[in-house]
Amino acid sequence: MTRKKAKRPADAVVTMVVLKLYIADTAPNSARAIANLAAICKEYLGDGFELEIIDVLEYPQRALADGIIVTPSLTKLSPSPLTKIVGNLSDTRSVLHALGIT
């Protein structure tokens, strides 16, 4: 399962945050991570983000190639620096820090 969500306002000036969330199907922490990330993106990023959700049960090789060891894992690809956070993303402060929002 890979799902892509891209939201771009017509005259976007703000930097687009590109994220990849690695999950394991509908496992409890993965489901929680999706919900937590959706809430954070909605509140802090508005339309300025692009998120790809990758199911490691379907695409394990892709996750390994990206250096992912455990799921759920969230990587911020841009803007640099590349950051990674592991877990169900329930600690909003840590997620914001990893996204460079704080």
Binding site: A24, P28, P60, L64, I69, G87
Partner: protein, 626 residues
């Protein structure tokens, strides 16, 4: 560098267990392999669902995620069961490899006649070669097919119409592995809508629509007809009760019953014979079928059938397991209420409650943990367990348990105010006790004991058969927790009052020389202490009947008037002529007593010997007069 532990075996001493001997949990093994600190932290916090194995290139699910998927699958299967009459799976050659529920074709459910065969190899009345070819093409294209309709005549001679739907299955490498799908019985549904009221078809469809298992017996006790629910139960269970197959003889099956079912079978057979013979119109019998935990309660009703050819009796089995369960819990609540209402001793009452809960739920042992608010720990207290060696050892080993109020299942139940449980057979490495593996009592159920929304303790139960509680059980344990909490608080208040009364009595005894009690006629009924010297035996006499008391008539009249009006009196002084010719002086105080109904029951009070003080006063007065 790894440290090594030497192991020396000495005669008569147990082998010393090294770290290497302790089996590692899955989590420990994963943590050994993973180097990243954030990853390790997330695993320890239970926030990881899967770990990617670079060697195999696959994702390995953590136990919690695996359990969730299993439960998800069970939920899915349950929904499929609700929405359809049967479920099936085929291999890559379209041969049935799994089949549950309603039969496909003429074959009975679970019959080897279905497994290993393709759909077109089964017996259908309406499957032409062209139809099958079309279907095979669908399969080759890996297409989803919906509502393929087939008809056949089953072993009972009934026309069956079946709808089959399926979808292809692919593995992780997108290789085709077969098909899976569902079956639905169309005929039964259509019968109810097409059969005319009063016709045999209508009657049959009505019977089949019943949730209860129903069969019709002839004069010999043979089952001449059974509804769908009966046939389904017979096919899945086998045995006695509603599990006797159509065309079998019910009475013969009853006669052949063994073990625990023997008594029920004999009673049922006797009732059926009476109904068939017309000796009674109806026979009802409550019985348990199967063995725990799958056992279910049924209410069997046998009704006499008039003028219906060979048919003589209808046997209907209604599943009353839920009702019995609710009754049992209601009974438990009543037992607990009675234990607490009649208890003389707090510890015995708590133990009786633990015993009652264990007996009702089939748990092996239980213990009350008291929350000590001062030290913030839960202290193990009253307990009860089955008289078995394993249980007794378990209770002895965990006898004086003291746990932190925020730790363990009992602590968490106290903190959350909600019941918590670990089911039997759950592979939980954080089981509440390390003794669980020794005793087999892996299941635990804990609920808080509460007063006015605050936890004051917890009741913890262990057993081999702790199952997922339903809402009724949770409601019952909440009620029991509150009843016990109120009882313990009441007893605590009563104990406090009793201690306070005792203290007051001791203080009173220090300040007075004697205590007394009188009946409604003002006769002394109890004297505690020395009493009044020179008056002889005071019991049974009023104050004015005592010999030697020196008091003026006016004073007696005033005193009698006071006590007749049930007024309290204080420092009533009187003199008593002593044998040595001198006077003794006493001071009495008293107040009226009333019983629970508010009826006057006498007086009680205290007496003080004031002889020395009075003599000193008299001497002073004489000296002043001189």
């Amino acid at each position: 560098m790894k440290s090594r532990t030497r192991t020396k075996i000495r005669a008569g001493r147990p082998k010393r267990v090294t770290r290497a001997d302790v089996p590692r949990s899955f989590e420990d093994n994963i943590l050994r392999l993973i180097k990243g600190a954030p990853e390790c932290r997330a695993i320890r916090a239970g926030e990881v669902d899967a770990v990617l194995d670079p060697v195999s290139g696959k994702a390995i699910l953590m136990p919690a995620a695996q359990a969730e998927f299993i439960e998800h699958k069970a939920r899915f299967r349950s929904l499929v069961d609700l929405a359809s009459d049967g479920y099936w799976e085929q291999d890559e050659n379209y041969r049935f490899v799994l089949h549950t529920g309603a039969a496909i074709g003429n074959e009975r459910t679970g019959d080897a006649g279905i497994l290993g065969k393709a759909l077109w190899e089964l017996s259908f009345d309406n499957g032409s070669e062209i139809d099958w070819q079309t279907h095979r093409t669908q399969l080759e294209w890996r297409a989803i097919f919906r509502d393929l309709e087939f008809s056949c005549v089953d072993s009972a001679g009934q026309l069956r119409r079946i709808s089959i739907s399926g979808e292809p299955i692919f593995d992780a490498e997108t290789r085709f592995t077969g098909y899976r799908g569902i079956t639905r019985e169309i005929a039964a549904r259509e019968q109810t809508t097409t059969a005319a009221p009063g016709s045999d078809g209508f009657a049959r469809a009505t019977l089949d629509a019943l949730a209860a298992q129903v069969c019709v017996l002839d004069t010999q006790g043979s089952i001449v007809s059974a509804n769908v629910a009966w046939r389904a139960f017979a096919a899945t269970c086998g045995g006695s009760g509603p599990a006797i197959a159509e065309n079998d003889n019910y009475l013969a099956a009853c006669a052949g019953a063994v073990g625990n079912e023997r008594v029920d079978a004999v009673a049922m057979a006797a009732g059926i014979r009476q109904v068939i013979a017309g000796e009674r119109e109806m026979f009802r019998y409550e019985r348990l079928c199967g063995t725990p935990p799958a056992a279910r309660w049924f209410m069997a009703t046998v009704t006499h059938l008039h003028g219906a050819g060979a048919a003589r009796a209808i046997v209907a089995y209604e599943d009353i397991t839920e009702i019995k369960h609710a009754e049992r819990l209601h009974g438990l609540e009543r037992i607990v209420a009675r234990c607490l209402a009649t208890a003389d001793d707090t510890a015995a009452a708590v133990q009786a409650v633990v015993n009652a809960v264990c007996a009702a739920q089939g748990w092996d042992c239980g213990r009350y943990f008291r929350l000590d608010s001062a030290s913030g720990v839960l202290i193990g207290g009253e307990s009860w367990g089955l008289p078995e060696v394993a249980v007794e050892q378990f209770m002895a080993k965990s006898g004086s348990t003291v746990v932190r109020a925020d730790a363990g299942l009992a602590g968490r139940a106290c903190a959350s105010g909600e019941p918590l449980w670990i089911l039997s057979g759950a592979q939980n490495t954080r089981a509440p006790t390390a003794l669980a593996h020794e005793t087999g009592m892996a299941g635990t159920f804990v609920f808080p004991v509460r007063v006015a929304g605050e936890s004051i303790g917890a009741l913890a139960f262990n057993g081999r058969s702790v199952r997922e509680p339903d809402e009724r059980l949770l409601q019952a344990v909440r009620s029991i927790g509150e009843q016990l909490g109120e009882f313990l608080q009441r007893r605590q208040a009563e104990d406090g009052l009793r201690r306070s009364e005792e203290l007051l009595r001791r203080l009173t005894e220090l300040s007075v020389d004697w205590r007394w009690e009188q009946d409604t006629k003002f006769r002394f009924t109890q004297i505690v202490g020395n009493g009044m010297a020179g008056t002889g035996d005071m019991l049974g006499k009023t104050l004015w009947e005592l010999p030697g008391i020196v008091l003026g008539d006016d004073q007696w009249v005033a005193h009698k008037s006071e006590i007749s009006a049930q007024w309290s009196f204080c420092d009533f002084e009187c003199a008593v002529a002593l044998p040595d010719g001198q006077f003794g002086y006493y001071c009495l105080s008293g107040e009226p007593l009333y019983d629970a109904a508010g009826v006057f029951s006498g007086f009680h009070g205290t007496g003080l010997d004031i002889t020395e003080r009075k003599r000193a006063e008299i001497a002073l007065q004489k000296a002043a007069a001189r």
